[in-house]
């Protein structure tokens, strides 16, 4: 039986190849889309009791420095620290040399990011050196920075170049993407620019996660009528808000993915129906020889399942390879994509979808083939 299924599958090689390719393509796109969605929705390293405060209008608008003290007075807020995105160019503009660089306050940064690990010696050394910077372990290892090394980050958004001295590393073992960042003294940048008082975001640490709604509400109300109204949200919501810039990606990708899979299902079903119809007479011969109706049904069904599973393995396999390569290429440019992977869950779903395509596309032709009377089948020409 197995031999017959395989031979039948290879009988019309072009048809099989095209069907296999279409199933593979659908599951390749599915794997890619799912890995992409999983990556951008990943909230790795976010803390439930951290709140981000930014300008209500846009991230490109700054907040006054004075907000730090006022935010610190809110109930349940245990620490406040500012973060300013610097951007800039390190070495060159190649994607692999891109990583997040933030102007920060060494005195409060680790009060808020208490899940980060830094030795007291490194922290003291960094605090003592106005031009010092710290880097995540992965980033430091990538560039082989040793304490005392000097680097220059050329400004692009801001009109200054940062000459920085490496003070040491910090770690965040639970979220490797967080170890690809660099922090320097925001004060150093401010002074170099004549103290414009630029702060992009304030990060608050709360005493408990359940107080997040109260604090975000209070923070927004506090500055509601000011020149710089704020939006306060959890760190996770802040991370996900970047997606809004892309529109409703999940819905869009989901709709496209579903449309592709349904189209492929119809294409495969049509192909399997054609294949089964071509063999109507052979099916009747098999039954004349004594094959049971169920055995004949299985022949067609297993052939179609084989197409579905092979298509899934090929498509998801190629998708996983591409995702892995893409993640490597992107990890320094967009750390969020550096975590992109075709997880076992995604691959399992792809395999299940392949099986479903095989099963659904084969079930009607299989039962049609075995359901026809033997005499009618034998009469069929071709």
């Amino acid at each position: 039986m197995g031999k017959l299924i395989l031979r039948n599958l290879l009988r019309n090689k072009m048809r099989t190849l095209l069907t296999l390719s279409s199933v593979s393509l659908a599951l390749f796109l599915f794997t890619l889309g799912s890995a992409f969605l999983a990556a951008i929705e990943s909230t790795e390293g976010t803390a439930a009791n951290r709140v981000v405060v930014r300008h209500r209008v846009s991230l490109t608008f700054s907040l006054p420095e004075a907000y730090a003290q006022r935010l610190a007075t809110l109930d349940h807020v245990t620490a406040v620290t500012p973060l300013q995105w610097f951007g800039g160019t390190y070495i060159d503009q190649k994607p692999e040399n891109f990583f997040p660089r933030f102007g920060s306050d060494p005195d409060t940064l680790f009060d808020v990011f208490s899940d980060y690990q830094i030795t007291p010696e490194v922290l003291d050394a960094w605090r003592a050196d106005r031009s010092g910077f710290i880097a995540g372990r992965i980033l430091a290892e990538k560039y082989g920075w040793e304490v005392g090394d000097r680097i220059t980050v050329k400004g692009d958004i801001f009109p200054l170049d940062l000459d920085l001295v490496f003070s040491g590393i910090f770690e965040q073992p639970d979220a490797e993407s967080q170890e690809k960042q660099l922090f320097f003294h925001r004060r150093y940048m401010e002074e170099a620019m004549g103290n414009p008082g630029i702060i992009g975001t304030y990060w608050l640490n709360l005493d408990a996660a359940e107080n997040v709604p109260a604090v975000t509400r209070a923070a927004e109300e506090m500055f509601a009528n000011s020149a710089a109204p704020v939006r306060a949200e959890t760190e996770e919501a802040f991370a996900l808000s970047f997606l809004e810039m892309l529109g409703n990606v999940r819905l869009l990708l989901g709709a496209i993915g579903l449309a592709i899979i349904i189209s492929i299902l119809f294409i495969t079903a049509n192909t399997m129906a054609m294949a089964a119809r071509d063999r109507t007479r052979e099916v009747a011969v098999l039954r004349t020889l004594g094959f049971q109706r169920g055995q004949v049904t299985s022949l067609v069904l297993f052939e179609s399942l084989l197409v579905g599973v092979l298509g899934a393995v090929l498509g998801a396999g190629l998708g996983a390879l591409l995702v892995s390569g893409f993640a490597k290429a992107m990890e320094s440019v967009f750390p969020v994509f550096g975590t992109m992977q075709a997880s076992p869950q995604i691959l399992s779903i792809a395999l299940a979808v392949g099986l479903a395509i095989g099963l659904l596309s084969g079930v009607v032709p299989a039962f049609a083939a075995s359901g026809r009377s033997i005499v009618d089948g034998l009469r069929r020409v071709g």
């Binding site: 009988r11 011969v285 098999l286 004349t288 020889l289 004594g290 049971q292 033997i374 005499v375 034998l378």
Partner: protein
């Protein structure tokens, strides 16, 4: 009580089909008895019901009325699964257009019915080789149907029909698609199977020469037997 050597007993068998609102009566009360080792030719004009009768005897179609016993079994009383098993055990069917599976070699085509048994691979192999030797194609085992002539294909089909050692061989115009030389070879082979292996054979044919090889000629006309003699 049936005769001990009776392979086929057909009593008042009728068969009709419905086409739209019409009832078409194909067989109108057939009575026929065929003994073990008998070689019967079934002749008649197109539409006389020859193939329908053959299909009923093979258990691939059901009569509308009457009784039909083949190899001691009331065929109409069997359910679908039992009927398939019975067919596998007792019937060897030879088609006009051979109906070999094009994706399988001659060996694999002949082996096909044996895959439904629990015979070990070696035993299956031996039986297939024997069947192919009987039809004179032991040297064509690895050939695919497209690599064989029409006559050779039909001989492989005969090997497939006899490999399970069935009680009854049914041949539906086995020479209808062959040239004279190949047809003669196939008829020789059927003679041999009847003579040497005492196989009961019922052959539907339009060819008087082919019918002449049989021990008995049965004629059908408009669904009724018109002659049952030598």
């Amino acid at each position: 009580m049936s005769e001990p050597h009776s392979v086929v007993q057909v009593r008042n068998v009728r068969k009709s089909y419905r086409r739209d609102s019409f009832n078409i009566e194909v067989l109108k009360g057939i009575d026929l008895e065929i003994q073990h080792g008998e070689y019967v030719a079934l002749m008649g004009p197109s539409g006389s019901g020859k193939s329908t009768l053959l299909n009923l005897l093979a258990g691939i179609d059901q009569p509308t009325g009457g009784s039909l016993s083949v190899a001691g079994q009331d065929v109409a009383s069997l359910g679908e699964s039992d009927l398939a098993r019975w067919r596998h055990r007792h019937i060897g069917f030879i088609f006009q257009f051979y109906n070999l599976l094009p994706v399988l070699t001659a060996f694999e085509n002949v082996e096909l019915p044996l895959t439904l048994t629990r015979l070990p691979k070696a035993a299956r192999r031996k039986k297939v080789q024997t069947a192919l030797e009987v039809v004179g194609l032991a040297d064509r085992m690895t050939h695919y149907p497209r690599q064989l002539s029409g006559g050779q294909e039909q001989r492989v089909a005969i090997a497939r029909a006899i490999v399970t050692d069935p009680t009854l061989l049914l041949a539906d115009e086995p020479t209808g698609d062959l040239d004279a030389e190949s047809a003669a070879e196939v008829l020789d082979l059927l003679d041999q199977l009847n003579r040497d292996f005492e196989k009961a054979i019922i052959m539907v044919t339009h060819d008087p020469q082919a019918a002449g090889r049989a021990g008995r000629l049965v004629r059908l006309h408009k669904g009724q037997l018109v002659n049952d003699g030598d």
